[in-house]
């Protein structure tokens, strides 16, 4: 894969040198980040629309925050502090699966239970960070929390591609079942869907994607990019194909613009923040359309 990345980079850098592409394309790390953005956009667009329909926004937020604790554990046990994937995947997966397991075995409402788990995870993370902060530069933690394109390397790109492949292989065949399981479990059972299994698969996919996108968008903001494009698309769409297509477009657009604009205009903001601000502006735009366009006036759906 590295040879492929190199050839794409060389080609784009040559175009930037000749003035065909903007100046930021001359930098290797910008091209790395943009290649990631072109994968992250569709991934988050499709998954995010499902998170929204399944009303699991708070759940994905808690997984993102658990990643911070995962990073702290990784640094403590001696993993590379720039790519502590083993600890992040391990802790987030443990967090998400334990949460789902508990959901099935308690009468507490989902938001209450997620709130409890989120608090526990943050408390552990905050305690561990105290030890970690003595070992590493605080800017490293900042880049984990809010994203940094400077930090994206070939390992991150390979992890992202691997997670995308897993999502495509597992998620696409089970897409209808995963959605139906939350809309009406009885109907899903009647259609032969293994409801419990697809719920766990969905939790695993959200966790994988959240961790794989951390380097670009950051632990705190990855959930925002999972949710805002889908919410913006929902404002102006009433069909599922339209919703998903627009969510993919908005997520990809937000990633590309959020990476390029700060570079082009030398604005010193973290990548994750810039990407989410672009997505939020699109959300405001579609909300205005929804509020003013005659075809949506008075519509409850």
């Amino acid at each position: 894969m590295n040879a492929l990345y190199d050839s794409i980079r060389s080609y784009l850098q040559a175009l930037a040198a000749s003035g065909t592409l903007p100046q930021p394309f001359e930098y290797e790390f910008v091209i790395n980040a943009l290649l990631c953005a072109l994968v992250i956009g569709p991934l988050l667009g499709v998954l995010g629309s499902m998170v929204m329909i399944k009303r699991m926004a708070f759940f994905s937020q808690s997984v993102g925050n658990a990643a911070m604790t995962g990073v702290a554990i990784g640094v403590l046990i001696g993993e590379s502090y720039t790519s502590p994937y083993l600890s992040m995947f391990g802790f987030c997966m443990l967090f998400a699966l334990t949460l789902k397991y508990t959901q099935h075995r308690t009468t507490l409402s989902n938001d209450t239970l997620i709130g409890v788990f989120l608090s526990i995870s943050l408390a552990v993370g905050a305690s561990l960070l105290l030890f970690v902060s003595a070992k590493i530069n605080t800017h490293v933690m900042e880049s984990v929390l809010f994203g940094s394109i400077l930090a994206v390397d070939h390992t991150d790109m390979n992890v992202l591609l691997g997670v995308t492949a897993v999502c495509a292989v597992l998620g696409l065949p089970l897409y209808n079942g995963m959605l139906l399981a939350s809309l009406n479990p009885s109907l899903a059972h009647a259609r032969g869907v293994r409801v419990r299994t697809v719920e766990y698969v969905f939790v695993i996919l959200v966790t994988l994607v959240t961790v794989a996108c951390l380097k670009i968008i950051g632990a705190v903001l990855v959930e925002a990019l999972l949710l805002i494009p889908a919410a913006a698309a929902r404002n102006v769409n009433r069909s599922l194909p339209g919703l998903v297509a627009l969510a993919v477009l908005i997520a990809t657009f937000s990633c590309v613009v959020g990476i390029l604009v700060p570079m082009q205009f030398h604005i010193p903001v973290p990548t994750g923040g810039a990407i989410v601000i672009v997505a939020a502006l699109v959300f405001v735009f579609t909300t205005v359309i929804r509020a003013t366009a005659s075809r949506f006036k008075g519509a409850s759906v």
Binding site: N176, L179, S186, A190, R238, V244, V301
Partner: protein, 226 residues
């Protein structure tokens, strides 16, 4: 080909320490139109959920004779989220095809969905948001998904609740047609007059079986037992 016979044998179900079903035993004959009646909270929907494999229970539920799949199921209207951003066609695609619904439907699947919607009298509503439909229209869409593809076993959970007289007649006609083709039908029903009119056999249930037999006798038993 006829639908399967369904045998409930000593089925018991407990939820949170409360007995919901207590040693429920009855039989639905192959190709029969069988109604399940009883008071609210009596466990009728739990019987259906146990049948669908959704609820762990003791005792056994088994199919005899021909294969049971596909199973058609029409849930209670209240059990479906109105705010889902889906058109009627999306709902049909979600329920009736393997391809992810957000990628649309293949031509053959679209034709099958359109035919099912036409049979339930909502042919022109495919492009409408599901949540914007009236209760009766949504119930017809849920009925359409249950008959596409043609089921061997059809389970109806109060499909005529809250719909108008033409809608009720349409459901009865459709069910009679499926019954004529040998589909086994289990219908949860509160309307005893309708039960007398359409059912071949009836089971009354209130946590345990109150009675089981032909509709002209058992409906009277339910009324006198109230």
């Amino acid at each position: 080909m006829r639908g399967p016979a369904v045998v409930f044998d000593n089925v018991s179900l407990q939820l949170g320490g409360t007995s919901v079903l207590d040693r429920v035993s009855f039989r639905i004959e192959s190709g029969a139109l069988h109604c399940l009646v009883g008071p609210n909270g009596g466990g009728k929907t739990s019987v259906v959920r146990a049948l669908l494999g959704q609820m762990p229970h003791s005792g056994s539920i088994r199919f005899e004779g021909d294969v049971a799949k596909p199973v058609g199921y029409v849930p209670q209207l209240l059990d479906f989220d109105r705010n889902v951003p889906m058109t009627v066609n999306d709902v049909m695609a979600l329920l009736g095809q393997r391809r992810p619904a957000f990628l649309g439907s293949a031509r053959a699947a679209r034709a099958a969905h359109a035919e099912a919607l036409e049979r339930t009298g909502v042919a022109g509503l495919g492009g409408k948001p599901f949540g914007s439909l009236s209760g009766g229209q949504r119930q017809r869409v849920l009925l359409a998904q249950a008959i596409s593809p043609m089921p061997r076993l059809l389970i109806l959970d109060e499909p005529t609740a809250g719909i108008d007289e033409p809608g009720i007649r349409l459901v009865e006609t459709l069910v009679a047609e499926l019954h004529g083709r040998g589909v086994t039908i289990l219908w949860i029903n509160h309307d005893l007059e309708q039960v007398r009119r359409i059912a071949q056999s009836v089971t009354g249930i209130n946590r345990s079986v109150l009675f089981d037999g032909p509709p002209d006798q058992v409906a009277c038993q339910l009324e006198t037992g109230r």
